[in-house]
Symmetry: C2
Subunit: 145 residues, 2 copies
């Protein structure tokens, strides 16, 4: 299974949807192991690096901070540990994501309201009379929050 033995950093980046500097950055902060080097000094990667980077990127897609990913990576590197830690991380992140979701929904409603109101009631008029601008700086009488 050493089908894929030598990947350049560019190829690795492309396969994982990362940028080249990001890959170097992950190495620098220790999320990826120090890469092997070719004769000219270029980094060379193999399957296991690819797998690791896919893991890291996926975690980032889930908005996990680097610190949490570090914990998970160390879990992978010490496979005898209890995996309930991974579940805890996932659950904690789930809570965070749900809170964010609620916030964003409120936000969407508010913005949609303003866009419509401005279109209907004041579009093109002077900024002084804009419902958005007025409403947003009013202490009490704002529709949202």
């Amino acid at each position: 299974m050493p089908a894929l033995a030598r990947l350049t950093i560019g190829a690795l980046a492309e396969r994982t949807g990362s940028s080249v500097p990001t890959v170097r950055y992950y190495e620098e902060i220790g999320l990826l192991p120090k890469a092997q080097r070719g004769p000219g000094g270029q980094r060379l990667y193999d399957e296991s690096d690819l797998k690791r980077l896919i893991f890291v990127r996926r975690c980032r897609d889930f908005d996990l901070p680097i610190g949490k990913i570090r914990e998970l990576v160390s879990l992978i590197d010490n496979p005898a540990q209890d995996c309930s830690k991974a579940r805890d991380v996932a659950e904690l992140q789930l809570t965070y994501v749900r809170r964010k979701l609620a916030e964003l929904r409120a936000l969407e409603e508010g913005l949609a309201h303003y866009a419509t109101a401005c279109n209907e009631r004041c579009a093109g008029g002077p900024a002084r009379d804009c419902v958005i601008l007025e409403d947003l700086s009013d202490g009490d009488n704002c529709c949202r929050r």
Copy 2:
């Protein structure tokens, strides 16, 4: 209506849900005008500062970047301008928020799936067999994305 003539920075921060350093920071980058100073050098604020800061904070609640807020603030400061710019900013932000919402929903689903799967199939076992860790580093056979 000069009911509220002298607010300290701490009082202003509290009323707007900002931190004190944040208020100073906004002044530094020009989102708030340079504050008046009391005899000992402390900043003093009035109604209009309060109004402005509420506006800025509300925009930040809507996740607007500082640059956009700067545009809106300058709209407020030049009230003769056409307000359709405010609507454009709101609409652009709406698009952004809706994209974010979709991403987060997918994210929530994925995380929930992992948490449940780990609870049912491997909780407490060694990390080597964890469905989360395995699944996330697999190139093809991942359920998500």
